[in-house]
Every structure is written in structure tokens, then in C-alpha cells.
């Protein structure tokens, strides 16, 4: 069958750039309470500064040129019941003869470029550590991939699309890495394609539903008696109380919210920036970094509103857990814990996600681990899959070395 793969060059039209420029020029900002800090959301001074930078200093064409240095492609992927979606991805191969194929899946408000800093680390060849062929896609509705046109694109569909992409690239067997939606979709991917295609997976945000006494007695009991676990649980509760507003709106009324994110670059900036700072571990965001990140959403193929629908579809409009339809598998699982994540669940709970063979705890880095501390996350991949590691040689014939 002929391939539909085409090289992809990012090229935002002058018209789009001009519209953005005009909107920024006519931006209307709210006021702010005295001494608000971050208590009520993104601080006004930050947004003012970023807006000013966006208007006068930031150069999208320069960002574009840098992004275009990455090996990017698009191809059509058929998803049962949803027709064909044109998917955008990075595909960077390693020089190592037996490099391990690895699929990196981003989340929200992330995007495909989160893999950027890890690419040279993961694809580097060395006798001392394993090497990977890396595939990082824009999820449907994000970045430069098409969005589904119909309702109901959920776990099964994402898993199908992800797997088909890897198969189309010639990777019958591969490993999976993700955080945020990358993790939540991973649970689905492994349910449907674990063992047969996905030989191992890794999560940097291992969250799950609480274990019950009957289903996972050890995890349940250890939570009751472990002080660290209890402290971790408190962060979960705190997040439920004051960190979940975006989640509730996106999982119930994504279209309503979508209008302001599609129409106002300042609104989109604030919505995402609050998470970039709030969920990272004191990462020293530069204004250019932030604006580039937001711009990927602003100029995304389907628009920023489309990216919100994953919350609705994966939860049935907030009527069920994202894990619905998944099951525990014995596919080897690695988990990494980063201190800047807003939610720290008890570590014993990871066992309810899969067969934990690798665990790593860091003292630096947050939700955007691949971007904030790429050497740490890449380091975990090397330890997990390298010679002597718990997942060494999971992909037959591709142990990561020459």
C-alpha cells in the first residue's frame, strides 16, 4: 500500500500572523486585586510583560525555522468509525543498528515539542547506554495534526491511532513513554496492544484511581500506614479542591471555553501560562519559551478549542474515570516521580497500573519533565532499557545497542 507520508514544513501564513498581531495590538487586560500574587490565577504583571514581549520582541518566524530543523512528517491514519486523520509527527532515528523504537506521547497543555531536548539524548549512540528511534506525534486536535470531526473519539481510538502510526513506520514492536494525557492514553494503548506491540511502557505521571482493599490489598494497606503516602494523598485532595477548575470546565463544556481561547491570544496565554508555571519545578521559563509554547496552540491546525475535547471524550463528559475500558496488564512498566508534579499519589499505587519493573524518584523537575529535566528523564529511559536494566531487550532484536 502506498504510503501517505510527506515531509512536513511548518509555515504559518502571513494572514494568520497579521491577525494575531492585530489582536495583540487591541488587547484589553483586566485589573487585579492588590497583592494578589498567584492566588487568583496568572498575575497581571506577568501577562502584561509577556504580552509586551509577544507584540514587540518575539519572532515567530525564527521559532518556525528552528522547529523545521526537526525531522517532521505527516501521514493519513485510518481510525475505525472516524475516517482518516492526517497526523503530524517527529520521527528521529538513531544511528545504532538495534535502536529501540520509542513512542513519546504528550499531554495538555503540552505538545510534540516537549520531546525536543530529549531527542539528542535518546538517539545518541554509545556502548554505555541504549539508543532509541524516537517518534513523537501531535495528538489529534493538537499541534499540526487534524482533529476528529465526530463525537466519541476516546481511549480506544487514541490507542488505535498511536499503534497504527508505529506500525506504519515499520515498528511492529516498540516501547511507550508519556506523562499527562501521554500517561492516561498509555493505559489504553497497553490494554489493547500490550505485549503484542507495546513491549514496555514508562510514565512520568503515574496517577490512577485509589486501590480498594479487595482489588489491591497491599497497596491499600500500605497507604493507611505510610506517612509519606498520606502526605502525598493530601496533595491529591488539595488539587481536587483548588487545582481542578480547568479540568471540570474542559471535561464538561469545552466548546464554551473554546471560544475565548480561539479568539483571544491573551486569554490563551494566561490559561496555559498558569499551568506552565504552576506545574513545573521552578523552571526558569524565558518569555520566548512561553510565547513559542502558546504559539503552537494559537497556530495549531485545528485551533486551541479542539485540544480541550480530549477531557470531555475521555471522561464521558465527566461521568467516568479516564481509565474506563482499561485493564491491568503485565507489560513491564517504569515510573518516574518528579517533585514539581501537583499530585503525588502513594508510590504503592503504581502497582495498580501495571507490572512495575522500574521506579525512579527525582529531586528536581515537574509535570513537564521532558522539557524541564530532559537529562533526568532520558537517564531513566537508559537505566530502564539499558544492559542490566529491568526492561533490557524487551523488544526482540532491538536491544538499543549496535
Amino acid at each position: 500500500m502506498a504510503t501517505t507520508e510527506k515531509p512536513f514544513t511548518l509555515s504559518v501564513s502571513d494572514t494568520d500572523l497579521d491577525l494575531l498581531r492585530k489582536k495583540l495590538e487591541f488587547a484589553r487586560l483586566p485589573n487585579e486585586l492588590d497583592g494578589a500574587g498567584w492566588d487568583y490565577g496568572a498575575p497581571l504583571a506577568d501577562i502584561q510583560r509577556l504580552l509586551s514581549h509577544w507584540k514587540s520582541a518575539y519572532d515567530w518566524r525564527k521559532s518556525e525555522a528552528e522547529i523545521n530543523k526537526l525531522p517532521m512528517f505527516t501521514r493519513d491514519i485510518e481510525v475505525e468509525g472516524f475516517g482518516s486523520l492526517n497526523i503530524h509527527y517527529i520521527h528521529q532515528k538513531s544511528d545504532a543498528t538495534n535502536a529501540i523504537p520509542l513512542l513519546f506521547v504528550h499531554g495538555w497543555p503540552g505538545h510534540f515539542l516537549e520531546v525536543r531536548k530529549m531527542l539528542p539524548l535518546l538517539t545518541a549512540k554509545s556502548p554505555d547506554y541504549p539508543s532509541f528511534h524516537v517518534v513523537a506525534l501531535s495528538l489529534p486536535g493538537f499541534g499540526f495534526s487534524e482533529a476528529p470531526r465526530k463525537a466519541g473519539f476516546a481511549g480506544r481510538q487514541y490507542a488505535e491511532l498511536l499503534n497504527k502510526l508505529m506500525l506504519a513506520l515499520g515498528y511492529q514492536e516498540y516501547v511507550y513513554q508519556g506523562g499527562d494525557w501521554g500517561h492516561l492514553l498509555g493505559v489504553h494503548a497497553v490494554t489493547h496492544y500490550g505485549h503484542k506491540h507495546i513491549k514496555a511502557w514508562h510514565s512520568n505521571m503515574p496517577i490512577c484511581a485509589p486501590p480498594t482493599l479487595l482489588s489491591y490489598p497491599r497497596a491499600y494497606l500500605s497507604t493507611l500506614f505510610d506517612r509519606a503516602a498520606k502526605a502525598g494523598l493530601a496533595t491529591g485532595l488539595a488539587w481536587r479542591r483548588s487545582g481542578m477548575g480547568y479540568y471540570l470546565e474542559q471535561s464538561t463544556k469545552p466548546q464554551t471555553l473554546g471560544y475565548s481561547l480561539a479568539d483571544s491570544p491573551v486569554g490563551l496565554l494566561a490559561w496555559i501560562y498558569e499551568k506552565l508555571v504552576g506545574w513545573s519545578d521552578q523552571y526558569p521559563w524565558t518569555d520566548d519559551e512561553v510565547i513559542e509554547w502558546i504559539s503552537v496552540y494559537w497556530f495549531s491546525r485545528a485551533g486551541p478549542a479542539a485540544s480541550l475535547r480530549i477531557y470531555y471524550e475521555m471522561t464521558g463528559g465527566n461521568s467516568h474515570d479516564t481509565a474506563e475500558g482499561t485493564k491491568w496488564t503485565s507489560v513491564p512498566l517504569g515510573v518516574s516521580y518528579f517533585p514539581g508534579e501537583p499530585v503525588h499519589l502513594p508510590k504503592s499505587w503504581a502497582h495498580t497500573l501495571g507490572k512495575v519493573v522500574f521506579q525512579s524518584e527525582h529531586d528536581k523537575g515537574g509535570h513537564f519533565a521532558a522539557f524541564e529535566v530532559p537529562e533526568r528523564l532520558a537517564g531513566d529511559m537508559r537505566k530502564m532499557y539499558g544492559k542490566g536494566g529491568p526492561a533490557y531487550g524487551v523488544v526482540p532484536g532491538k536491544n538499543g545497542y549496535d
Partner: protein
């Protein structure tokens, strides 16, 4: 209280503000939509596009303004302990009946002072058959044309202080209150802080309360446990549950990150329109909104003195960043409490729960109407007010010397 700073007020939005709005509407960028989405994911694209087109070309804000300015509007400075002075915008319509009952009407979100509009001629009308009222309504601080508080912590006690000081400064030491949405809560705080001395009775159309607790109100608790719910209440509670699951996203965000949300609502008229329109339609009982009606409503938020972002903060302050129910600070008092139940309201507490808020002496159940009762069903709500405070009613004569009759 301080010197009389009352000034007549006319809404008069500067030309450049209207120009900026139109410029933004011209530059509007719309999202896509899933096939056959209907209302499932939020406000439908076709509706929003149609409204934006009308807003750009057809809706006449100056005409709205002229009609609004027919109402007797004023501003005055109100001192609030710890917050300095806020310049408050209000409507004050007196009845021809000298001894009319002073009534304060309080709006909520996404409501505004104009929600009282249809009630005014009805409530101020004199007749031997029903009581008459002097009506006051104000733009809550941070809404409409009132100043917004500049400091953190402006919550129930403060809103009540503004309301009470306003009524007193208008010469109404004793008065009754009617409110829904935030108006319900603020009425409750008014009762809590000023019952008997100032507030003599209140009628809510937003039946929200916490369940009675065994230790604090044992009788009510037992009543709650052992009284079977009527179908009416069961339907209401099912609706409340549905609302909590699927309709509360806006409240969660507004109660925790109002500033973050505020940037988009301040900058994008399309965003603001969609955010509000979804509630105007979703919370009303098949009310036949006209496009211009919606646009006038949204324009008040767009052109508001504090800007749309300021109006969100009430959620954060009243719930202490979503830590507790806003109604938790309302204490039971023995002044007359009435409740008007409208079927499409999203909160529906059973009778025993409402009794934790006050001495429930009046209840009225309607077959039609939703959240915006004063706007959707002004006659029905007026009827409730008249029956509660009229000659045959349970709260007749609560305001000394002002029976409501000639």
C-alpha cells in the same frame, strides 16, 4: 455612613469603547465544532456566530442605553470596613404609595441590576388588593456600574454591609429583601448580620442550603432523614446532581482561578458572549431569548465599570477558594423567610435544608420558570412577594409603619 454623595447616574459608554468592541468583533476568530454537537459540549457555534454577526451589525447599544436610562439610577459612595469607599450604582424606584414596603432586590452572576426591570412596574404599583413596594436594586461591587473592591477578602459580610448601608442611606432603616443566585447568599448574610434591626424578612428564588446536622439542629436533621421527598423535590435533587456533575465547571474555575479566566473574558467579546450565553439558555426555562436581549445583557458585562474579570471574584471570595459552600456562613435567624421554587432552577434543597437558613413561613411552587425568575417570570415572582408580605400573608407588616397599603 457618611455625607450624602448620591448623584443621578446615566449609563454613557464612551465612543472609543464601542469602537474597540467593534474592532474586536471584526477580528473575531471562531473555533470549529464537532458534527452534531448541539449543546452537548457547550454553546453551539451557529448560535454564537449569529449573535456575533448581530452584535457587529444591527444591535444598537446607544438605543439600549437610552432605554436603560429611563430607569431612576444613581451612584453614591458607601464605606465598607477594611475596604475604604466604593462608589455604588443603583436603581431606586419609589411607589406612589407612601407606606410602601422598602424592598431590596439583589442580582447574581451572570445577572445584573436590570434583572429587576420587569418587576419594577409590578412591585411599585399601588392597589387595595395587594401591597406595594419602594424598590431598590444595586450593581453588586465588581458588577455593572459599581466600583469593584481593590483588596482581597471582600465576601458575604462586606456585600451585606454595602447593601445595608445603601438602604439605610436611602432612608430605609427597615426593609425586606428578594434575591436569587448570589442575591440569595447575600440576602442570607444580610439576615445573619442585620436581622430584626434592619432586615425584617427575605424571599429567595434560589433554594440552596446545607443539610441539617444532627448535633446543631437535631429536629431538622430527623425531619430530613424521615420525611420522604416529594416527586418535586426528587426531580429537583436529580437536577442538582446533574448540575454538580456536568454544570459546575464555570464555578470551579471562577472559585479557584478567576484571574486566569478573566483575561479571556476581558479581551474577547466572543469569549464573554459564549461564556454567558451558555448559562442564559441553559439555566432558563425555555425562555425565548431575543438576540438583542442577550447582547444587551452581555454588553453590560463587557462595558462594566470593573470589567468582566472583576465579576468572577465573588466566587473565590465567598467560597474561600472553593474550600467551603458559600452558604456555610449564613446563620439561622427568626425573621420571615420565604422560598419561591421554579422548576428549572439548578439548586433544589428540600424544605428541611432551607429551614436551617431561617424561619420558613412562605413557600411557593411554580410550574414554569428557571434561574432568572425575575426576568423570565416577573408576574409569578411578584405574586409571591405580594402574597408573602400582603395583608393575608405570613410576613404582613414586618416593616414598622410601612404596611404596603395606602
Amino acid at each position: 455612613m457618611s455625607a450624602n454623595t448620591e448623584r443621578p447616574f446615566r449609563v454613557s459608554i464612551p465612543d472609543e469603547d464601542i469602537k474597540l468592541l467593534h474592532k474586536k468583533l471584526e477580528l473575531a476568530r471562531f473555533p470549529d465544532e464537532l458534527e452534531e454537537a448541539g449543546w452537548l459540549y457547550g454553546a453551539p457555534l451557529a448560535d454564537v456566530k449569529r449573535l456575533v454577526a448581530r452584535w457587529k451589525d444591527g444591535f444598537d447599544w446607544r438605543r439600549s442605553e437610552a432605554e436603560i436610562n429611563v430607569l431612576p439610577q444613581f451612584t453614591r459612595d458607601i464605606e465598607v470596613e477594611g475596604f475604604g469607599t466604593l462608589n455604588i450604582h443603583y436603581v431606586h424606584q419609589r411607589s406612589g404609595v407612601e407606606n410602601a414596603v422598602p424592598l431590596l432586590f439583589i442580582h447574581g452572576w451572570p445577572g445584573h441590576f436590570l434583572e429587576v426591570r420587569k418587576l419594577l412596574p409590578l412591585l411599585t404599583k399601588g392597589s387595595p388588593d395587594h401591597p406595594s413596594f419602594h424598590v431598590v436594586t444595586f450593581s453588586l461591587p465588581g458588577f455593572g456600574f459599581s466600583e469593584a473592591p481593590q483588596k482581597k477578602g471582600f465576601a458575604g459580610k462586606q456585600y451585606a454591609e454595602v447593601a445595608n448601608t445603601l438602604m439605610n442611606s436611602l432612608g430605609y432603616k427597615e426593609y425586606v429583601v428578594q434575591g436569587g443566585d448570589w442575591g440569595h447568599y447575600i440576602a442570607g448574610y444580610l439576615a445573619t448580620h442585620y436581622a430584626h434591626v434592619n432586615v425584617k424578612g427575605w424571599l429567595t428564588n434560589y433554594p440552596v442550603a446545607l443539610p441539617p446536622k444532627l448535633l446543631s439542629t437535631p429536629w431538622l436533621y430527623l425531619t430530613h432523614v424521615f420525611t420522604p421527598y416529594t416527586k418535586h423535590v426528587k426531580d429537583g435533587m436529580a437536577r442538582t446532581e446533574e448540575f454538580l456533575r456536568k454544570g459546575r465547571g464555570y464555578a470551579a474555575e471562577q472559585s479557584t482561578k478567576p484571574q486566569t479566566l478573566g483575561y479571556g473574558l476581558a479581551d474577547s467579546p466572543v469569549g464573554l458572549l459564549a461564556w454567558m450565553y451558555e448559562k442564559l439558555v441553559g439555566w432558563a426555562d425555555e425562555y425565548p431569548w431575543e438576540d438583542d436581549e442577550v447582547l444587551e445583557w452581555v454588553s453590560i458585562y463587557w462595558f462594566s465599570r470593573g470589567g468582566p474579570a472583576a465579576s468572577l471574584r465573588i466566587y473565590y471570595e465567598m467560597t474561600n477558594c472553593f474550600e467551603r459552600a458559600a452558604v456555610a456562613g449564613v446563620k439561622w435567624t427568626s425573621i420571615a423567610l420565604g422560598c419561591a421554587y421554579f422548576p428549572k432552577e439548578h439548586g433544589m434543597a428540600p424544605r428541611s435544608w432551607l429551614c436551617t437558613l431561617g424561619r420558613l413561613v412562605f413557600e411557593s411552587t411554580h410550574e414554569r420558570g428557571g434561574h432568572f425568575a425575575a426576568h423570565e417570570q416577573p408576574e409569578a415572582l411578584t405574586e409571591d412577594v405580594r402574597r408573602m408580605f400582603g395583608r393575608e400573608g405570613p410576613a404582613f407588616g414586618v416593616v414598622a409603619g410601612r404596611s404596603g397599603y395606602a
